[in-house]
């Protein structure tokens, strides 16, 4: 605020001084020029009268000649002063308006109101740096879930759309560079309600800077960052990021999973995939020869992952100057049938179009289908606006960077334990993954998978907390008894337990529950509700543990106590 006033005053210095001088000279003139009163006697105006007259003359209000009708010399002087004061006023008002229009001033006003708004936040919020496709999706998902977001993005463009949005919770936003430490502070990095920072810039260096600044300003804040290359990923991780998401790697690893371990792929889809539709069928690309078109970031990552699971690969790279293409790569335009034939499209099982150009990618895949109708087609969609074309092309898999990352980040914001869980699960052997997937299907039935987590503490699970505090033993399976009927089980199970620094994957039923345990649960919405009843309501918990139904009311309880005696 003070900044604004100083800026304003500084810019208005010249007009204000001009105004003071013109008023002073005019007033002095009126006081010195002799006038006449009604009796034609000599009369000099007082300073007050002069100031009064100049004030209404300068503002063009004009009440008339006071206190007595003017003499000819006074009128000459009025004529001069009239123009002088009016022009000075116009100059002053013009300068004032130009200050208000000034980009620096407007940015300052915006910054001030943004700061005030952030400091007034009284609910948990996420700080999102970078408002591209991913950012937009994520803000939307968070808003629909009732979570506030604070958005920073340095560029004109999508962020301006936030001015008119129809989200249930309107995000706070500022067009500013998030790698500026001062701005991160204004945006609430040290705010007690800040749940985390999500850095989604297109440039890895920006994400890295944000990670460093965030780490230095607030060590405890949760940081989720995006990185497009392997080096940036490990670099950002070393600066204390909780999760780093590499869109290409995420996609390529999913693809490899779909080929190699379909159940793991399903588990990933259920836990980090879109929330509005459930994927039950795994598209099953066969093992065999794959063609990768374009060896950029996307193609390279796909190559690594498919190579790891032992697929036969052939790379087509249009740029003949690229150095690091693998041996046996074909240099040529992948959009041409002859190049594709050379790469062995006839016996290939799948083709990945991963160039940086959407029309090229589509064209490659159209040609590929003409040559080999059964081929499995994977496309990299670079730009959000091309979505309808890719949908119309009916490809087997389309990688939409924005959706992919935003879904995953949304899942991580909702259930932070998911990151640890998935890191362990990805090393599961096929049989174990199959087992886990079938357990998940068993609990969720036909509904959407619901993931949630809870911590055993006084606030989240008061009944359970009190019971454990009273030195009672509670087993994991006790928490999953149905509140209406303890013999039946809630349709949910624990995916993961974090106790201090220790991790337990799929905790057994007879494991003891401790205070401070954090559980990652999987089930249905109803199961979520039932578990909440069990952990928060002492009556139900008592019933679940012992089978005794204690009466609710005080009177009834006393009667029961008497009867028991």
């Amino acid at each position: 605020m003070s900044n604004l006033i100083y800026l304003l005053l500084r810019r208005l210095r010249a007009p204000l001084i001009t105004l003071i001088l013109v008023y002073a000279v005019s007033m002095l003139g009126y006081v010195l020029i002799p006038g006449e009163d009604n009796n034609r006697d000599l009369y000099y105006m007082t300073f007050f009268e002069a100031f009064y007259f100049v004030s209404f003359m300068g503002t063009t209000i004009g009440f008339g000649e006071i206190p007595y009708e003017f003499t000819q010399p006074q009128r000459y002087w009025t004529l001069i002063c009239l123009y002088a004061t009016v022009i000075t006023w116009l100059y002053g008002i013009g300068s004032l308006l130009s200050v208000f229009q000034d980009p620096a001033f407007r940015q300052q006003t915006k910054l001030n109101s943004f700061r005030r708004a952030v400091s007034r936040i009284r609910q948990p919020f996420y700080l999102i740096c970078g408002y591209g496709e991913t950012g937009r999706k994520l803000v939307e998902e968070l808003a629909h879930d009732g979570v506030l977001s604070v958005v920073l993005d340095p560029e004109e463009g999508p962020i301006n759309d936030l001015e008119v949005n129809d989200l249930p919770i309107s995000p706070l936003w500022l067009r500013a560079d998030a790698s500026d430490a001062q701005l991160l502070e204004y945006a609430g990095i040290n705010h007690p309600r800040c749940s985390g920072i999500i850095s989604l810039a297109n440039d890895d260096r920006v994400n890295l800077t944000i990670a460093i600044v965030a780490q230095l300003l607030n060590k405890n804040v949760r940081l989720i960052a995006r990185a497009d290359t392997k080096q940036a990923e490990s670099n950002i991780l070393s600066f204390g990021a909780n999760e780093v998401i590499n869109p290409f790697e995420t996609f390529a690893s999913r693809l490899a999973l779909a080929i190699n371990s379909p159940s793991l792929h399903l588990i990933y889809e259920w836990t980090t995939g879109p929330r509005d539709r459930r994927v039950d069928e795994v598209y099953l690309p066969k093992k065999g020869r794959w063609i990768i078109c374009g060896f950029g970031n996307f193609g390279r990552t796909a190559y690594q992952y498919l190579d790891d699971i032992g697929q036969e690969l052939c790379v087509i790279e249009p740029d003949r100057h690229r150095r690091d293409v693998p041996a046996g790569a074909i240099i040529g335009r992948p959009t041409e049938a002859s190049t594709l034939k050379k790469a062995g499209i006839d016996e290939a099982v799948g083709i990945i179009a991963g160039t940086g150009n959407d029309p090229d990618n589509l064209s490659v895949l159209m040609t590929a289908r003409e040559l080999n109708p059964n081929i499995f087609r994977v496309a990299h969609q670079n730009e959000e606006k091309n979505k309808p074309i890719f949908e119309a092309a009916e490809l087997d898999v389309v990688m939409q960077r924005g959706n992919l990352i935003s879904d995953k980040i949304f899942a991580l914001t909702q259930t932070p334990l998911l990151g640890d869980f998935l890191r362990i699960v990805q090393r599961f052997k096929s049989e174990r993954a199959n087992l886990l997937a079938s357990r998940m299907i068993a609990v969720m039935g036909d509904e959407f998978p619901e993931l949630w987590e809870f911590e055993v503490n006084a606030k989240e699970t008061p009944a359970l907390f009190d019971r454990l505090n009273a030195k009672h033993q509670v087993l994991v399976e006790d928490l999953l008894r149905l509140p209406d009927n303890r013999e039946k089980r809630i349709e949910a199970f624990m995916l993961f337990l974090k106790r201090g620094e220790g991790n337990v994957i799929l905790p057994e039923n007879n494991r003891l529950v401790h205070i401070g345990d954090r559980f990652l649960m999987c089930g249905t919405k109803k199961a979520h509700h039932n578990v909440q009843i069990m952990t928060r309501n002492a009556q139900y918990l008592e019933y679940g543990l012992t089978g005794d139904l204690k009466p609710d009311s005080l009177v009834w309880r006393k009667i029961m106590a008497k009867l028991a005696r």
């Binding site: 005053l9 810019r11 210095r13 001088l21 002095l28 300073f47």
Partner: protein
Amino acid sequence: MRTEKVVFAFFIVLALTLNFGFFLGDFSNVHHHNVYELFAAIVVNLIATVLKFGDRTHLGSVFLATSLVAVLQLIVAALIWGIHSATAGAEMDADTFSTIVSLSGGALLANIISVVLLVAETVNLRR
């Protein structure tokens, strides 16, 4: 030498000298104090105040504060003069006039502080 600094120092010193000129003389004697000098002192003090706008340093804030005090005192003095002459006629009594002069004396003190600050800043300036 910079014109901006010359102008700045000029107005601050002029504000002091005009104020002093008005203050000088017998307290209750109207003939020792010129109304035009008071007017000039107010105008110059106003200009000095505006010149001090927009300096965010600590010294700048104190500069601005002293000027605001001076302007406030001088304007109150002028108001008393104006109201008195409008209500009680042209005759000025010693009581009212000594109030006016003492108010300008207060403004004078503020202006002296302002000049002292100016001098201190100049002395501290590294060449």
